[in-house]
Symmetry: C2
Subunit: 366 residues, 2 copies
C-alpha cells in the first residue's frame, strides 16, 4: 500500500492529546489558544473545533490566511510583525479578529505607519530565551512601544505575549524553574499595567511548560502547539510518553547489514528534517524505530534501535547487535517516530489517516 | 517585491558551476553524470543540457519519473533498490536507459524477483562511509550478488558504484586522502572483474572529491550534484569560494536588538532546514548573511555576521558588535547563504530567477 516514505497521523492519539490539554486548561481556568503551526492542516483544525476550540495561534500571515479560509475568526500571529506583509494583514483584519506582535521599537514604528484596519497588538516580551521580544526589565522601551502602538487609532494595545522557548530540551525540574521565573516576571509586568489597561491580556505557554507545570499566576491564555502530535524530543524529556506520539514516518527498509548491526531505510533529511534527540542510552538519535501493525498503527519503539544518521534520502538504523538488526528485512516497512514533529509534518506536507486517506496541509503538493 | 522568505537562484553563477565541472571532467577524460537531487528542477536541468550533458543521476524513482517526463533518457537512480517501487521501475525502464543499485544481497534478491523490463544494475560498494553498499573486501558477497543479478535475464550487471560521502565536511588534505583510498580500492575491484565483464563501469564522485582532486584512475564516470549551487559547507572547507554559491534565501528583517548585537529575521528551519557549518571564527552557523543589491544579486557575506540559531520560522542573526547589527533595520531584506543547498532547495520547492520569475521544482507548491 505505501510505496514511499509516508507520514501517518493516528487520529485517536491526536484527539486524546487535544482533549488532554483542553481539560488541563479548563481545570486551571486559563483560556487555551492552540498553536496550529505543528499540524498546519484545515482538517486537523476541525478536530480541535469538535471540542469547542475557537481561538488559535499561527506563525505567519500566510498561515493565518489559510485558517481564516476555513472560518477561524480569532487568530494570533505569534511571530514579529513583518512589514512586507502589511497589505495582507490589512486585508485579513477586515474579516477576523487578528492579533499581531511587535517585538522591537523599530518593528512597532513600521506597524504603526502601515496598519489601516483594526488589529489588536501584543508587545512580545523576552522572558529569558533571548530570541525575539523586548527585555522585560526595560520598562522605558515597553512604555515607548505602547505609545507608538497607541499613536495609530487602528492598532490597539492588547497585552503582552511571551514564548519561553528555553524550556525546550530540558528535564522536568529545569522546566518548572523556567516556568516559575517567566510567569513571575509576566505577572509583575501585568500588575504594573493593569490599572491603565484593565483588559490587558497575558498570552504565554509552550508544550513543555503547559504539560509539565501547574502554576500560571497572572496568565490569561496558554498557546502550546506541539502537544497535538508530540515527538521524541518531548518524550525523551518526560513531557509525554512515546504512546502519546501521534505521527510516524513509514519507511521502506532497503538494505540490512548484520555484520555491522546496521540497516538502510528510505527516509532521510528530506522527510524527517535534521533535528535529533538524545535517547535514554545517551545516543544522538534522528528517530525511534517501531514495527507497523496490520491496521497501520505502530508498536512501541524497539529497544536499542534508532536512526544513527540521516542524509538526503538515506536513514541509517543502528541496532544493539546483529540479531536485533536481523529482525528487519529488505522489503519491510517500518515506522519512525520523529525527533521534532513540527518540522517533519511541515516537510512532508500531508498526512495519511486510517479511514480517511490523505489529508492535506497548507503547503500540500503531490 | 519579495514579501516572504524566497529562494533566489543566480543563473549566471549556476551556469558557471555547470561549465566548470564539465570542463574538468573533459580534461580528465571521465564522463560526467551530474546528480540532479540538488536542484530537482526540469528548468535547471535544461541548463545542463545546453552544455551537452545527456546522462544524469537522481536519488529516487519519483525523481527519475519527473526528469524522464522532460526527455532525459539515461538515468541512474543512485539509491538502493526500493522493492515497493518495482512496478514504477518496470514501467519507466520501458522508455529509458535506467540504471539501478543493489546494495545488499537481500536487496539484490528482491530486485531479481521483481524486475520484468531490461534494467542495468550497479552493485553499490561502500568505500569507507559505512552507509550503504557491500564492503569492498567482501568478494564472496560481491560474487554472490553478481550471480543473483545474472539469474534474471532482465537485469544486467553493469558495474560498481560508490559514493565516498565521508569526504563531506573535511578539509582539502583529508579529502585527497579519502579519494586516493576510495579510487584505489575501486580500481583494484575493476581489475578483478574486467576480463569477465569487459564493459564494466565504475561510477563514483561527489562534489568534494570531484572539485578538489585530480586523480581518478579506473573511474569511468563522476556523479557530483551539489556543485551546481555549492553552499557554505563547501565554502567553509575550501571546495568553492562564497562567490560560487548560486542560491540565497531572501529574508525580511523583523526585529533588531543593538544591546545584544542580535536581530531576528523571518527565515528559519522551515526554509533553510537545520544543517549548519563552522565558520572561520569557529562559530556554528546556520547561514551567512549578505546584503542584497538592487538587481537581486547579493554581496559577499558580511564579516562576523551569521545565523546563530534558527527555530521554526525565526532566524537569530549575531553580529560582532552593536554597530554592526545597526546596519540592519526592521523592514530590510537580507540574503542568507545556506549551509546545505540541497536541503534548502528541496524545502523551498521553487526558485526565483532574475528575468524568469519563479521556476518550479519536482515538489513545487504555492
Amino acid at each position: 500500500m505505501f510505496t514511499k516514505p509516508t507520514l501517518i497521523l493516528n487520529e485517536r492519539i491526536c484527539r486524546a492529546n487535544i482533549e488532554f490539554m483542553l481539560a488541563k486548561a479548563r481545570k486551571l481556568g486559563i483560556e487555551l489558544r492552540p498553536h496550529f503551526k505543528t499540524h498546519q492542516s484545515i482538517e486537523v483544525g476541525k478536530w480541535f473545533r469538535d471540542y469547542g476550540i475557537g481561538k488559535i495561534a499561527v506563525s505567519s500571515v500566510p498561515m493565518a490566511q489559510y485558517f481564516a479560509s476555513d472560518g477561524w475568526i480569532d487568530i494570533t500571529i505569534a511571530f514579529p510583525y513583518v512589514h512586507q506583509q502589511a497589505e495582507e494583514i490589512n486585508a485579513l483584519a477586515k474579516s477576523i479578529n487578528l492579533q499581531v506582535l511587535v517585538s522591537s521599537i523599530g518593528n512597532a514604528k513600521l506597524l504603526s505607519k502601515s496598519i489601516e484596519t483594526h488589529v489588536e497588538v501584543y508587545i512580545e516580551i523576552d522572558t529569558g530565551q533571548y530570541r525575539s521580544g523586548l527585555q522585560i526589565e526595560d520598562i522605558e522601551t515597553v512604555n515607548k512601544t505602547i505609545e507608538v502602538i497607541q499613536s495609530n487609532p487602528n492598532t490597539k494595545f492588547y497585552g503582552f505575549l511571551s514564548h519561553a522557548g528555553h524550556s525546550y530540551n530540558n528535564q522536568l525540574n529545569r522546566i518548572e524553574q523556567i516556568n516559575s521565573e517567566a510567569t513571575g516576571k509576566l505577572n509583575r509586568l501585568k500588575k504594573n499595567y493593569i490599572e491603565q489597561f484593565p483588559n490587558l491580556k497575558i498570552s504565554y505557554g509552550d508544550t513543555p511548560t503547559s504539560c509539565a507545570c501547574n502554576q500560571f499566576d497572572g496568565i490569561d491564555e496558554l498557546r502550546p502547539g506541539n502537544y497535538a502530535f508530540f515527538d521524541m524530543q518531548q518524550a525523551s524529556n518526560g513531557i509525554c510518553s512515546t504512546s502519546n506520539i501521534a505521527i510516524a514516518l513509514i519507511c521502506p527498509v532497503v538494505a540490512v547489514y548484520p555484520e555491522r548491526s546496521q540497516a538502510i531505510i528510505w527516509g532521510g533529511a528530506v522527510h524527517l528534517t535534521k533535528d535529533f534527540y538524545v535517547d535514554n542510552q545517551g545516543n544522538k538519535s534522528f528517530g525511534a524505530v517501531c514495527k507497523i501493525n496490520p491496521d497501520y498503527t505502530w508498536t512501541k519503539p524497539i529497544e536499542g534501535m534508532y536512526l544513527e544518521s540521516i542524509s538526503q534520502e538515506h536513514g541509517l538504523v543502528r541496532a544493539q547487535n546483529c540479531e536485533a538488526i536481523r529482525t528487519l528485512k529488505e522489503g519491510d516497512l517500518i515506522a519512525v517516530l520523529p525527533p521534532h514533529s513540527c518540522l517533519t509534518a511541515d516537510k512532508m506536507g500531508e498526512f495519511w489517516v486510517q479511514g480517511k486517506g490523505f489529508i492535506s496541509m497548507m503547503n500540500h503538493c503531490k
